[in-house]
Amino acid sequence: MAHSCIWIVLLPFCAFLIQVFLGKKLPRHGDWVSVFAILGSCALAIPIFVQLLRTGNVSDALPLTWISLPQVFTGKPFEILIGIGVNNLTAIMLMMVTLCSSLIHIFSTGYMHGEERYHLFFAYISLFSAAMLGLIVSDNLLTFFICWELMGLCSYLLIGFYYKKPSAINASLKAFMTTRIGDVGLFLGICGLYTLFGTSNFEQIYAMVKQPELAQATILGLPGLTFIGFMVLMGTIGKSAQFPLHVWLPDAMEGPTPVSALIHAATMVAAGVFLLIRMFPLLQQGHHVLTVVAYVGGVTAFLAALLAIVQVDIKKVLAYSTISQLGYMVLGVGVGAFPAAFLHLLTHACFKACLFLSSGNVIHSAHTQDMREMGGLRTKMPLTFAAMMIATVAISGFPFFSGFVSKDRILAGTLAFSMEQGHWILPVLGFVTAGITAFYMFRMMYMTFFGAARDEHKHHHAHEQPFVMVFPILVLAALSFSLWFSGPSGIEKFDSFMPISWYDTAIDNTQRAMGILAEHTEGASLEIEHRAHSLAMLFSLTVAALGVLLSTMIYLKRVISADKLKAAFGPLHTLLTNRYFIDDLYVDILVKKVLLGWNRILATFDDKVLDRIFVDGWSDVVMVVKSIIGKFDDIFVDRIFVDGTGQVIALGGWALRIVQTGRVQQYLMMALAVLGIAIWFF
């Protein structure tokens, strides 16, 4: 099983390589290469998932030693172990990612048709898929981080795909830089892990986290596990666009719609939540980490939902909606209900991708992204309308739909948490946000599909999109029903006769593997959980209904005027339209004033001081040394050895030449002298 995981990752990666180098020359620019690659990965992921369904548990591992240095600093050898690990979470994620990615690949063949860099688009999304899949199957944080960064790179490439638009370039840089801040935190967390545990392997961490002596371990004076927990949270805040690093996601809508669907709805942003879930045992052990996580999630969900109300660009609505739903997931992890969070991750992937792709259809058809120019498209694009409606209902949390199941569980978990530990603001935020979600989603639907056409010209030309673009959204819409996850109605009481409990079994086994108890299995907690569940269901249905009602009244029936409301909420409206001025804060004050100044100081220092002294100065030193050596060589070596040798030989020659006079008398003389000596001494 782990071996097939290698192929699952490699197939899209090979597609990337082929596309990059040969794509332009292939027929149809090689889109079939990418599509078949990801379909292949999907096919390989299916057996793993099927085994999970059948046995409730999958587990396989393929470890590798990457670096092994003997006894460097400490007594024991320094080893970095990486590898592939398959478990229940992995299996489910693989299935979801490969499926969504395949559908989006197919969609892209229609949406990106005629693009100038068509082959590169497929190269990039193949690379991205490979990275995401690699991240999922990593059994250790190091390769996880590598794939994490790789995904960031692909995000940059894809957001800035329309590189001729300056806004796209800016958006891609903004996305990359903002997530980078989070990534720094994550990397520090990994370093902390190596310091404390000597490993970043998930399984080993789960085992080691329980040791009591680690509770006292410190990193840089801070409690060790807490530090790592917060650093991991930093990574998630960056990647999953939580407050305060959420600013890149709305701008990322500059990229093509399939990109938004794949990266910014279903997969990459979910990676942050996936990280939190995998590190949950460690987060549990840190002090107050989970509480902070919960607040981050809750606040994000609420603020983003508010922002979604005032958006006029269809994709921006969905972007803020994504941020909000991610907030829900993070909130779920924070209150300890991470099975619920993970389930929401899965359901959100399906219906959000459906929403994005459908909006892509709408954009393609109406040639605009501004909802104020749309209207009455229901008749023109019935299939798209149907799919989008299903997804909207799902996200709003209606029974019979998947969103209800997962959101309900999160809210129940939040309620139970606050019943046990206070923090009442969290469930309040959760429920209010649910209502707001329903409100703005239906607002979007009404403005787009219902009512009179606001722009006759566009309305006239609108039409349903080709099959390759409609098929994926229909599939995703079909997956947005609750019956895949826990029964037709989604309400457990009514569905208990349906044996669709694959998710619960899998997650229970996962929790056991992680060494944490299934939530709330003891007596008193169980009681609270039941009560919370019922209450939550009640509340969520109520707020959802309220939201839909309000939205209908304002946008469909026009009973309440939107403009009057806008005037009434004047200052709030301004605040929302300016996105709480956070972007301005970051760019104008933080970047332009603070960081730029610091940058200038450092640049000047580098140039005047470092370059002058170390670089130029070094060349001076070298020149001096060179002249010294030159003189030395010239005087000493040349004179003595080179010339000297010649002169010694010349001297010898001169000496010998004296002897060779050619005069016999002298030869005789010399012979006699030798003879005399010989006689005297011998």
Partner: protein, 172 residues
């Protein structure tokens, strides 16, 4: 032998040595030749005292009467006399040569003495009687018995030298 005779011999030896020194060191080659003549005479006297009467006679006839005259002829033929160019400054190695030479004398003497000691192992039976013999007959007998080969060879040598010298010095 009486001391007087010994004295005469000694005087002859002194004469020889002095003449030889002149031969070696005198710049004028004509003077050196004449000194050589006296050296030959001295040697002849020494031969007489050594019981080599015939040899002494041969020495005087051949050397004094032949070789020296020959040398004088050669000197005259090479026109040094008329050019008055008789200053023969010894070569640059003059002084060191003399020193080496003087150093060589004891060496040679020592060698000869050891040879003498060696020969002492077989002393001759009648040295005195032999010494007073007239040697001419003895030499003649030895020449034709023991040394007949060298004798004949020398005749050929003399012939060769004669012919060679005549040929070498032939007029152009």
């Amino acid at each position: 032998m009486s001391n007087g005779l010994k004295l005469v011999l000694f005087a002859a030896q002194l004469l020889t040595v002095a003449s030889a020194i002149l031969v070696a060191l005198h710049p004028n080659v004509l003077y050196a030749s004449v000194s050589l003549l006296f050296a030959f005479l001295g040697v002849a006297v020494m031969f007489v005292y050594a019981g080599a009467d015939f040899i002494a006679g041969a020495q005087v006839i051949v050397y004094v009467g032949g070789v020296t005259i020959l040398i004088l002829f050669a000197i005259m033929l090479t026109q040094w006399l008329y050019k008055m160019n008789l200053k023969d400054v010894p070569a640059k190695l003059g002084i060191p040569v003399v020193i080496v030479g003087v150093g060589l004398i004891p060496a040679l003497y020592k060698v000869m003495r050891e040879l003498a000691a060696f020969v002492e192992k077989n002393p001759a039976p009648d040295l005195e009687k032999f010494a007073n013999l007239p040697k001419t007959g003895v030499i003649g007998q030895a020449l034709l018995s023991n040394y007949v080969l060298p004798f004949e060879a020398i005749t050929i040598l003399l012939l060769g030298a004669l012919v060679g010298a005549v040929w070498l010095a032939r007029p152009r």
